[in-house]
């Protein structure tokens, strides 16, 4: 028996109209997208820029209002929910953004940023809030004095860990990660990826992991959906997608990934230039 999905997305669609009103040009950013995310699972959403993967992530949280479809979270449809109820559901679904530089308010200390996230969702006495902020800082690997740091005093990787802490502090079950490591250097990228993995194991979190980087998505995801021009062209377990891609676009994407060793790169080039007899 398969477990009950945490999130069920069905026929989600969102179109954008041309800049001028009455413009006939309609861009289908998200076109009839359906997928499930199971508890404790990482679901990877890959595709190239403009394929609608980020719009999908935002539409789930209604940061962009989708045109049609349904998004049911623990059996309740987020898209039909009144604003009040949506507010408290946001405790369960949080988001981590791509750019760690613009995703933290430069005028606020780290402790205040985390405290604010808590204040938005819970009515707690200050003492309890501060305690929780310190606990979460410790969990993402910061010493106590980071409470008083400003974002500009931290590196990109450290900021992204604060971004994760801000999502974690309200106790979510699902975190939507929109390109969380694409702005980071490789050695820092691995810090954040390992941390996300550890947190998942420890807390039973689910992730919707949105990225253009197939190697990263492969490393962290249990299942993957490939998006092209607003549609999901293929989805399935990670190993199957990578070892036996069905859709030509998926194959095209996989072929474009740079080789991990120069010898492999040369072999592939000679294979491409010598015609198959």
């Amino acid at each position: 028996m398969t477990p009950q999905p945490l999130l069920e997305v069905r026929n989600l669609s969102k179109s954008f109209h041309g800049r001028r009103s009455g413009d006939a040009k309609v861009m289908k950013a998200v076109d009839d997208v359906s997928f499930d995310i199971l508890p404790g699972e990482t679901f990877g959403l890959v595709g190239e820029s403009g394929c609608g993967k980020s719009t999908t992530g935002r539409a789930l949280l209604r940061l962009i209002e989708p045109d049609s479809g349904s998004v049911s979270f623990q059996g309740q449809d987020l898209l039909k929910m009144p604003r009040k109820q949506l507010h408290s559901t946001r405790r369960q679904i949080q988001m981590v953004f791509q750019d760690p530089y613009s995703s933290l308010n430069p005028h606020r200390r780290v402790g205040v940023i985390l405290d604010e996230a808590l204040k938005i969702q819970y009515r707690l006495p200050r003492k309890q809030r501060t305690e929780r902020v310190h606990r979460i800082l410790d969990r993402v690997g910061f010493a106590e004095d980071y409470y008083y740091r400003f974002p500009h005093e931290m590196s990109g990787g450290q900021r992204q860990r604060i971004g994760v802490a801000r999502a974690l502090i309200v106790g979510p079950q699902l975190i939507i990660c929109d390109e969380p490591v694409s702005a980071l250097d490789v050695s820092i990228q691995s810090q954040v990826l390992n941390m996300l993995h550890d947190l998942q194991v420890e807390l039973g979190l689910s992730y919707l992991f949105i990225s253009h980087d197939l190697s990263v998505v492969r490393h962290i995801s249990h299942r993957i959906a490939v998006m092209q021009k607003g549609r999901i062209v293929e989805q399935g377990p990670t190993d199957e997608i990578f070892s036996n891609p069905q859709h030509p676009y998926t194959r095209q994407l996989l072929d474009a990934i740079p080789a991990s060793h120069p010898r492999l790169a040369r072999e592939r080039r000679t294979a491409l230039t010598t015609p198959v007899s």
């Binding site: 949080q94 953004f97 750019d99 995703s103 604010e116 938005i120 004095d145 500009h152």
Partner: protein, 296 residues
């Protein structure tokens, strides 16, 4: 690595070593230093000036009318024999008070209007059209019209100038807020479920304070000039209370026989406005990230 430094009021978001860097940047900024020194000097004279004058600004001394500058009457005397230095000093109280009040009021109003317009679409359409209407009039004409409606009184000068200048501040605040609004941390707050109040007043507002401060200094200078112009035209501070504008007005007919009656108040206005503008330009260089010359 201790980061318990208190917040610096001028540069929020700064710890001790960064603040000393900021202080060095201020000291190295010749415009801020020159402008600041000029203003400090004028302020000092405005404060201790009354102790240095031979007679009060309202004391007439008909036998000694229209005396040229001398060691007793540094700026000379006017057509009623009043000491011109005393009148310019006393006028500085009025002018600086008007300028400061207008800068303060327009900043407050401009901040509220600009932020609300930046965040709410409907409010934006309504508010911006009203402000456009205000800005379609030349500032001085609008000020005269408002003065005519309200009556000639020092307090009304402040009201009129505040009405005239608020749109300019609101526009600056709105455009900076629109930029901040697009930042990811604002989207993140919405994703967390933050209220409009929290987004706007707790998170966007502090980010527009630097452009607001810069704009306020220019409004300060502009309102001193406009107040002088209003008083010169007889629609500003009512005589006999001296203001730089109506001292100029008194000297207008005597410009060829008593040059000191126009030159000294005129020079004072110029100096103050120059000082404020220096300060404003310098602050812009210091606070505007686009003008920053920090490299990695």
């Amino acid at each position: 690595m201790t980061s318990f430094a208190p917040r610096s009021p001028l540069f929020p978001g700064m710890t001790a070593d960064r603040r000393s860097l900021q202080l060095r940047r201020i000291r190295n900024n010749s415009q801020v230093m020159t402008g600041g020194s000029i203003l400090l000097l004028i302020l000092l004279i405005a404060l201790i000036g009354p102790l240095l004058t031979p007679s009060g600004p309202y004391e007439t001394d008909t036998p000694n009318r229209l005396l040229p500058p001398s060691t007793t009457n540094w700026f000379g005397t006017d057509n009623f024999g009043r000491d011109l230095f005393a009148r310019v000093v006393s006028g500085s109280h009025v002018s600086l008070m008007v300028g400061f009040s207008v800068a303060l009021i327009t900043s407050g109003l401009g901040l509220v209007i600009g932020l609300v317009a930046a965040y709410f679409k409907t409010a934006d359409r309504i508010l911006m059209r009203i402000l456009d209407g205000f800005m379609a009039f030349p500032a001085i004409l609008l000020a005269i019209a408002i003065m005519a409606a309200l009556g000639v009184q020092t307090e009304n000068v402040i009201v009129a100038l505040s009405l005239v200048f608020t749109p300019y501040v609101a526009r600056v605040v709105r455009s900076s807020a629109l930029v901040v609004k697009e930042q990811t941390y604002i989207e993140s707050l919405r994703a967390q479920g933050a209220s409009a109040y929290r987004v706007l007043w707790v998170n966007i507002a502090p980010n527009v304070l630097s452009p607001l401060l810069i704009q306020a200094t220019f409004i300060f200078a502009d309102s001193i000039i406009t107040e002088a112009a209003l008083s010169f035209l007889g629609a500003g501070v009512p005589p006999p209370e001296p203001s730089w504008g109506n001292i100029l007005f008194d000297g207008k007919t005597l410009i060829f026989s008593a040059w000191w009656m126009t030159v000294f108040p005129g020079l004072t206005i110029m100096l103050v406005v120059l000082g404020i503008n220096f300060l404003g330009d310098g602050l812009r260089d210091l606070l505007d990230p686009r003008h920053k010359s920090i490299r990695k």
